[in-house]
Amino acid sequence: MREISLNILDIAQNSISAQASLIQITIEEDTALQRLTVSIEDNGCGMSEEKVKSVTNPFYTTRTTRKVGLGIPFFKMAAEMTGGSFDIASSEGVGTRLSAVFCTGHIDCMPLGDVNSTVCTLIQCNPSIDFVYTYWCDGCAFTADTRRFKEILNGVPIETAEVMAFVRSFLEENTASVRQDALQKSKSPHNQ
């Protein structure tokens, strides 16, 4: 994996396999502290305590084509090798929550990459699942909620090309504007 956003795409596949109907992805960037926090939360089938312990082991997998499962181990490693941390909590019948903290100043920290592309891919390939994506940058934020989009669409499929083009530019333009707001805030003399 070359980008954190690709890890997110990969980890979200676990939530899809867990038959989640709602997946929440949150990214928080703190440029002053040089911290990036990624969290993925689903309302899928969840896992037993024993299973939660084994998922970070690369030699544990539920698939049958191979004896290795590298999704969660890769994500954990990517965070921990920057001096950050990884955490997973799950409850059967309730869902699973993962979070990882990356120290962005560390030389081994991967770039965040194209998260908007990850979110678009997830929405487009899983139109029956709802996604809530929240992006925070130094205290400024925006949220994209497919439940809200679908309410407005009123039956027009979200995965159609025209709607997805809207979703993509919605994500891109809001990300840019949140970053701009954060920058303005940091320059403002009242902030110091």
Binding site: M1, L6, D10, R66, S117, T121, C125, E162, F170, S177
Partner: protein, 123 residues
Amino acid sequence: MKSLEELKALRDKMAANMGIREDDSDNIRIVVGMATCGIAAGARPVLHALTEEVAKRGLKNVTVAQTGCIGICQYEPVVEVFCPGKEKITYVKMTPEKAVRIVNDHIVNGNPVNEYTIGSTVK
């Protein structure tokens, strides 16, 4: 800035054009392997290129979807094309550029791109 108002306008425009849905029996499915192996090898830009090209050409009877690990991780990104009544074609070591050619040659013109298939890659 994109607002939800724009989405409302888009819905109204699209709702007017809906209702003419082509018969599902001639639906072509393009499936991209999106497990850890596929994603790490670059499946996300391949999927994006496929959907962009399908949208650009306005192909109505084509679905682009994802699947898990197909089991041939060393050949990822893998793309499978299912045309009704024909044998499945498996493309390996895909790139966004190859994806565009597959939409044009295979999906639009019906000529599978033999040099990208698993058969010509695995000797």
